[in-house]
Amino acid sequence: SSMFVFPHKIILKTCGTTTLLLGLDLMLRIAAAEAGFPYHNVASLDDPKVAATPLRVFYSRKNFLFPQRQRGPHKSWRDEVTFLDSMFENGSAYMVGKMNGDHWYLYITSPTSSLTPPRTPTSSRGVSPSRRSKIPTGIVAPFGGVIENNEDETLEILMTDLDPENAKKFYLDEAAAIAKEKLFAKSEANGDASFDVFSSSGDCDADGQAVLPEALTTEGHALGTVVSEACGLSAVYPTSTYPDARVDAYQFSPCGFSANGVVPAVAGADGAVSKAGHYFTVHVTPEPQCSFASFETNVPARQNGRQTAEVIEQVVNIFRPGRFSVTLFEAKGALATTPGEDADDTRRNWGAAAKQRMERINGYRRVDRIVHDFEDYDLVFRYYERE
């Protein structure tokens, strides 16, 4: 699981049977009480029910493999929507994709509620959660209700039925073996005496072989780094291109893998550098009965001229899934243009080229392409199966 905290927004992505939505109340309270964001649901900041007024809320997930094992409001999409509707005004719920196959759910609140005056604050003390007043969204005066971050672009790849050979890399035993191999190779290249992993301890086993410090072959972060490099994840946003990029990875025991990457600066084709806070995150469940991997990033593909399709191919090659879906969320007006160039023409030309490229992911057949035109975002959902 991962959480990304920006000055103006928070992203929480959680795996397994976590109860993500149960944390929402407290998240909104922290935003009001500790960060100072405006609230409209109670009269005073001292009220324990105080909740910051979000500009916009997105909640999404793929269909669960084992919905009956989920807890709290996550037992069904209907329950999740009921929970969110009980909290927010102007929410809309969607199901995208095949009902009788892999599909994806989205709940989104509308920023047009900024046109609605806030409700008169009422005390929620003694009021049951289901009856308390809903939290308005989108009230962001004085700067309006539309998300203006025209760089906002989020790509998510959800992969199932991973290739068993590729999935092996995400087991602790396999990761430890790779780590040992790499350390011994490194020690040979450097000479044992100069390799600090060995020279710092000087430990040897009965045969006089150097003994690796245990932490380097068992500790989750150390192994996570090894797995990131071995599987090719570190090469998706390499430090040769993104020198300030930092990856934090963890190999779980007995299996499973998570990684967060931060890419502080992204240079555009025109030389301009974006420092909007770019990230990527990867989560892997390798067990064959429920194999799954996800990749998500907000590193803008268009800005540096690198096509989204290239990133997708690179990621898909790491896992070789039997099927996968791609969702691409883009803020409208996100495409930068040069002076004198018509934004709509640029969008059409770029969009047509990108669409063509996205139709041909090597080794896969694109089955579905579904476009949603939201108020200030475009969403394109694509679903692929192995040929």
Binding site: M27, A35, F37, F58, R246
Partner: protein
Amino acid sequence: TFSPSEGTPYLTINHDVAADLDSTNAFEGPEKLLEVWFAPSAKALPAGVKEGGLKAVNPDSWTPMLDLVHCKVLSIINSENVDAYLLSE
């Protein structure tokens, strides 16, 4: 003591949680994803919001919220514009 220069991402590991984590019972792949915006951009925070906005919140303050979610913090990458928390489960 390591003192990262300004703007350089740096990593903090929560060894207490990371040391003995066992994920034997993890079984469900697909994740739940929540994104909550409080302002249109980092440069357009409303008046009265602390400098740095949500990034100014003490990382420990998120712990009770993450307890409700059933996640624990394994490590954090701090950077100028985003803090990335790697979580258990």
